[in-house]
């Protein structure tokens, strides 16, 4: 079974600075999908970014980028120019490459990010 580990329960960043959130995972599959989701106090889980393991290039979405290290099974999220609206819980998630019954997400415990004005 796959596992996802987020070992930092909390992080804080100054507004406009850069912060990196860590995630490691364990799997025996060679291909898979990785995600970062944001969950503000409203509880709505919002997709931030996704990475396909077969792609060497790190995914980027505006101020959000990932550092995907497949051999190390590491998938960190970098938030540049942090904004007050970035404050939320962030979850790292894994998905098998197969569809259907194998398409469920496996989440880490999450990290609470606070942004200081």
């Amino acid at each position: 079974a796959q596992t996802v580990t987020q070992s930092q329960p909390e992080m804080s960043v100054q507004e406009a600075e850069t912060v990196t959130l860590s995630c490691t995972y364990d799997t025996s599959e060679s291909d898979y999908y990785l995600f970062w989701y944001k969950q503000p106090p409203s509880r709505q889980m919002i997709l931030v970014i996704r990475q396909e393991a077969y792609k060497q290039q790190n995914a980027t979405e505006n101020r959000f980028s990932v550092n995907f290290q497949k051999a190390a099974k590491s998938f960190s999220l970098k938030i540049s120019d942090s904004q007050l609206g970035d404050a939320a819980m962030y979850f790292c998630a894994y998905r098998s490459p197969f569809g259907g019954a194998n398409s469920k997400l496996t989440f880490g415990k999450g990290i609470t990010l606070s942004v200081r004005p």
Partner: protein, 115 residues
């Protein structure tokens, strides 16, 4: 509707009671997932529907939990004889593809409190 909706937003019940939680997926999404999120934890998978059928119910904790999706759209998660340990946020997600690339879109969840 623009996104996944869930009702009720909050539900308080007494131990031993029966509850139903509803999920309205994004129109046209064939895949539907239920997850449970306990306080301070990440969501944990409960059950997955492809159309009307439960393709994977391996995450349901015991036989007090049951879910249906009779017409392939709205789904209802049913919990019998609720226990205090069932208190959590129940999240629903839907996906367009049944293939390998479907992104899951989440609803705002139902917070269940069992007294």
């Amino acid at each position: 509707g623009a996104g996944v909706s869930q009702t009720p937003s909050n539900k308080v019940t007494e131990k031993g009671k029966y509850v139903e939680l509803r999920c309205d997926p994004i129109s046209g999404h064939t895949a539907l997932y239920w997850y449970r999120q306990s306080l301070g934890q990440g969501p944990e998978f409960l059950i997955y529907f492809q159309g009307t059928g439960a393709a994977d119910d391996s995450g349901l904790p015991n036989d007090r939990f049951f879910a249906v999706r009779p017409e392939g759209s709205v789904s209802t998660l049913k919990i019998q004889r609720t226990e205090r340990g069932d208190s959590a946020v129940y999240l629903c997600a839907s996906s367009l593809d049944i293939g390998t690339s479907g992104t899951q879109y989440f609803g705002p969840g139902t917070r269940l409190l069992v007294l």
